[in-house]
Amino acid sequence: MNTDQILKDLQNIVGKEFATNSPEDLYIYSQDPGASLPRPVDFVVMPKTTEEVQKIVKLANEEKIPLVPMGGGLTLSGLIIPVRGGIVLDMKRMDQIIEINKLSRYALIEPGVSTGQLLAYLNEHHPDLQPAIPDAPPSATIAGNVLIHGSGYLSQKYGDHGAMVNGLEVVLASGEVVKLGSCAVSHYWFARGPIPDLVGLFLSSFGTMGIVTKLSVQIFPKPKFREIVFGLMKDEENIPNLLLEITTIDFIEDVLLGKQDKPEWMKGYIFFMVYITGDSQEDIDVKLKILKKTYRKNGARYMKAPQKMIDLYIEKPIFASGAADFRKGGGFEYVGANMPLERIPEAYRRGAEISRKYGIPPTLGSRLIGQTHNIVMFFSYSFNRADPDDMQNARNALEETNHLTLELGGIPWKGELGAQKLVLKKMDPNYKKMFFNIRQMLDPNGIMNPGNWSEEEN
């Protein structure tokens, strides 16, 4: 590889100041805040337009250089750290909110728009609308979130965030630009169909199928009142019944569950937070009564949670990154396991066992996705970034949890390379074959984030 020439070419495409291979920039882009080991990067480039992305892709194809698109870089599982070197495309200069359609309730945006940016924009200009954003920090991008089948706010009510994608504009490995969803036929980006649904090819494929340069995501009406109803439960076996009953009531916006040893009063309990919404405080009060009754009926009890805790969880987004400092170490990573409801009690039990085995205080949580169609289970492991052994310990815990997830019939979400390999191992061979064939057809030179969703040794 003629490094100097490629840098020059990249600088010609995006401008001198937005392509780099300085050791300092490469150092930052060779790692993420999770537990993955650093991996080398050759260039970082920040395109501003779809045309620039096309030119970068064409150059990469000619030179056979891997391309890794990056949003906020906050998956924690190293998805934006190149596996085989190459060019990281930091997409955050493509940050335009192109259209807010109030009637069809969608936002057409560029891939660098952060969740914080869209949230603030709607709060200011369309206060009756809200975006579906993850529990990640506000610097996470909307695109990054939906493209990994993200979840978070509004997931209980409307499903996972990947399901909220109406359409995409994608630069393929060939350099061609393709439109997917209703925008392929109409100038409205209002729906995913009704045409053969190829949007899914680009979800959870971690940049191996193409580089998204525009997307339309659903946005939602914002209720006037919102409150958290907190509860505790001793026996995790009661979780499925409680959740089934809670989700039968149709005013529930979100449901979060968790188990942690600190503060002391939480130890030994499953806590749950049910977000209710309404038109008035009276409306909320009535719903609160119904919920309390539902709690009692299902082996749980309502508890007035400390205001500090409520404030933390009512804020959008939740300061989930706080977990990084649980052990004053600056890092955490979790297995986000998509699980069937029936295996959740066991997941809590065995997840806590894994935590204790690795000497990490159990920090387990879960979110409902679309009533009880799916539960995202978080097995979180904090670590000390300054201690390589402690980071290895966290990686070991993550690996064991990936095995547990698959054993329980779940699937690790946005998994690191090891998790991807485990999933592929268990995957229906013909599904896998179809996936690899499509990928080979779209990307014959294998330049799109190679090493991800791969059975080859890295």
Binding site: Y27, V44, K92, G116, F319, D325, N384, R385
Partner: protein, 392 residues
């Protein structure tokens, strides 16, 4: 603070990115991230680089020094970082890393000038001007050698923004404050911010001694940079003093609150206030200047979208003005564009650095504002002083 002192903190930055934003996430509020856009230039990126340096995963280089110096140390990262147990240290860490750059011979040349000029016995200021012992000013304003108050002018007002200095002198006289001037040397803000800390303690001790010699128990400054340095940095460098410290806006507010000062003419303009980082985020003073503006008869006081803790830096701080003069003025241009949205014709601040940089942008980009310090506005007003006991 030395880098060794932050070993227990530096790895705790998760690089989550809150530090880039305003409170509401409406904008990126970090000037250097806004310009460079690589993660490297966010506060988190810098913390990770410093961690890499301390681990020997990275070596000093001109580029690394440039990344560390291209930060206006405005404190937005401190304000927005959610890790409350240690977020107060981010700017101190940048300054400590710059001190390490200096030690290793990687202080950029332009910033080096600040130290050379400040330590030059003919100057004692970063502007390469012959040192003023302020005796001429004392004569001109008929000031005593000893007084209750010392007006610490600061180099920027004394050598560049002289109207700000003179307005302050006139105001203090009109307010019948018993004050004097000293043969001051630089407060050291510019060299502290750029990591050139070797002479700082001596300079601080010198100024404290001079204030003592003047018999003063109170010090007032019209410079937000001097104020922050005296308020925060003296203690960090282990230099103690027993005088009370006031920014001019604090004194004016006090006089107004005690009904000792009345404005008897009006200022019929639409004014917006730019919070200096030195006075705002670094010293926690937001309300006081606003209350003073709002007491001015005839004023139409309006706020910019980003204000108080969320204010956008003018771009002059942290050695950015001297190190990156063109970019520095572009940052001020962005601030003035925000001021345009308010309908204000006057952009006012309480800091000579902000005044300089905002004025430079105003002139360079023909923005059409009047850029003026609060004390300069007050200087234009007729005032009445009622039974001022402060004069003793």
């Amino acid at each position: 603070m030395a880098l060794d002192d932050i070993k227990h903190i530096i790895h705790r930055c998760f690089r989550c990115g809150y530090c880039k934003f305003t409170h509401s996430y409406s904008e990126f509020n970090c000037p250097s991230y806004n310009k460079y856009r690589f993660e490297t230039y966010s506060a988190g990126g810098r913390m990770w680089l410093i961690f890499g340096l301390m681990n020997n995963e990275l070596q000093w280089s001109d580029n690394l020094a440039n990344i560390l110096y291209a930060c206006s140390t405005c404190g937005n990262c401190v304000e927005n970082c959610r890790f409350v147990k240690f977020n107060e240290f981010w700017v101190d860490i940048i300054e400590a890393a710059r001190a390490e750059a200096v030690k290793n011979g990687f202080c950029p040349d332009k910033q080096k000038n600040l130290l050379e000029r400040t330590t030059n016995p003919e100057m004692f200021n970063p502007y390469a001007e012959p040192n003023s012992d302020n005796e001429e000013l004392k004569k001109e304003y008929n000031l005593p050698d000893k007084a209750e108050w010392v007006y610490f002018i600061g180099c920027t007002s004394n050598y560049r923004q002289k109207n700000l200095r003179d307005s302050t002198l006139r105001f203090l006289k009109k307010a019948k404050i018993d004050f004097t001037l000293i043969d001051e040397h630089c407060c050291c803000s510019p060299i502290i911010r750029t990591g050139q800390i070797s002479p700082v303690k001596d300079f601080m001790n010198y100024n404290v001694e001079k204030i003592k010699e003047a018999g003063a128990t109170k010090v007032i400054t019209s410079c937000a940079g001097c104020y922050r340095t005296l308020k925060n940095d003296f203690e960090k460098f282990g230099v103690e003093y027993d005088f009370e410290l006031y920014h001019t806006s604090e004194l004016v507010k006090k006089l107004l609150d005690e009904d000792k000062l009345k404005f008897t003419s009006s200022y019929d303009k639409t004014v917006t206030y730019h919070d200096p980082c030195h006075l705002g985020r670094h010293s926690g003073i937001y309300k006081i200047p606003r209350e003073v503006y709002k007491k001015i008869p005839g004023i139409n006081f309006v706020e910019m979208k980003r204000n108080r803790e969320n204010a956008y830096c003018c771009g002059a701080g942290g050695g950015v003005k001297i190190g990156y003069p063109d970019w520095s003025v572009e940052i001020s241009k962005e601030r003035l564009e925000e001021a345009k949205e308010t309908g204000a014709t006057v952009v006012s601040s309480t800091c000579p650095f902000c005044r300089t940089n905002l004025s430079d942008a105003n002139d360079k980009f023909d923005m059409g504002f009047e850029v003026i310090d609060l004390i300069e506005i007050l200087d234009k007003l007729d005032i009445e002083i009622i039974n001022n006991e402060l004069k003793k």
